[in-house]
């Protein structure tokens, strides 16, 4: 939930975290990363905003705006979701467990 840049997350060159609101995280099942999950970003009203596929290491990333977001993952291991509050620009991280 914090806005401090985390160097462990690879962002595209030129990403300005003082201006951009980046939501990033990992899809896990039983503590293990889930690659190939369909990760859906829903806004504060539950409206679909975007969808990405998690990487082999389970990672996902969105470029959004400040606000309250729900990150929902669909996978062959099951589905799951978590709520993320982005209070301003910066990097906001979340883990989504599917079961």
């Amino acid at each position: 939930m914090c806005g401090a840049p985390d160097q462990a997350v690879a962002l595209p060159p030129g990403t300005d975290l003082s201006k951009e609101t980046v939501l990033a995280g990992r899809v896990v099942a039983g503590g293990q990363p889930v690659g190939g999950a369909f990760v859906r970003l829903l806004d504060g009203t539950g409206e679909f905003t975007a969808e990405v596929v998690s990487s082999a290491s389970g990672d996902f990333r969105f470029f959004a705006a400040p606000g309250t977001w729900t990150v929902r993952a669909l996978s062959r291991s099951g589905n799951g979701q978590t709520v993320l509050n982005a209070d301003g620009p910066g990097l906001h991280q979340a883990e989504v467990a599917v079961a």
Binding site: E20, F48, A50, F62, L74
Partner: protein
Amino acid sequence: MSREDVLVTADWAEKNLGTEGIVFLEVDEDTAAYDGGHLPGAVKVNWTTELQDPVRRDIPTKEQFEELLSAKGVSNDDTVVLYGGNNNWFAAYAYWEFKLYGHENVKLLDGGRKKWELDGRTLTTDVVAPARATYTAKDADNSIRAFRDETVDAIGNKNLVDVRSPDEFSGKILAPAHLPQEQSQRAGHIPSAINIPWSKAANEDGTFKSDEELTALYGEAGYDAGKATIAYCRIGERSSHTWVVLHELLGHNDVKNYDGSWTEYGSLIGVPIELGAGR
């Protein structure tokens, strides 16, 4: 036109893989997705290099389209089944181009890659080398394609359906939230447009909602079935998804896809722009 003329199910597709006269083409936003695994026998189409002109900002010319399909092994009488990732966005865009150039037997795999993968169906990395065919396209049917001037003229007259996300519509962001927000053109939407995000027409697994659900969705959002329609998004592929819904599934007659979309409109000098959530 009925749903069976437009869509095929994953079950149907699985049974018809490798059938003579049926060509499966995969079109992804992520052009590397095919290489990581595709439907057995499916041929890759790269939207960035093959579904647009390499120099001008435009769709392929008739001649370029003929060459593309010939190279992919598609004959005029083949049934083409298009599918792709990201809820068939780019497969729907390809579908619209196929219809524009007069290919009758073209269908979308309902749910695209997503449903196929969630179902746990077979994907392969086998190399597919199609035998070259000779394809003849018809002249472009511009009754399904809107250009910028008629889009400006449509303000207050036709249904203008903005299918982007609410934050893009209101002007809060310039691109879908999974893409960097680096564009420099103006934000907002075309005045009098109604915002019906493409995603409302799709189920979570990427399949299209039922005709009854779709009719209710557009009716509640203020869509006037008695008027002509122009659909737009950012670069014209999400609006192809909605074009498929309105023109192909629901059978509305005068529905055009404005493929110039917001990247063109939002960069024009002097045209009106509206900000905020709209009506």
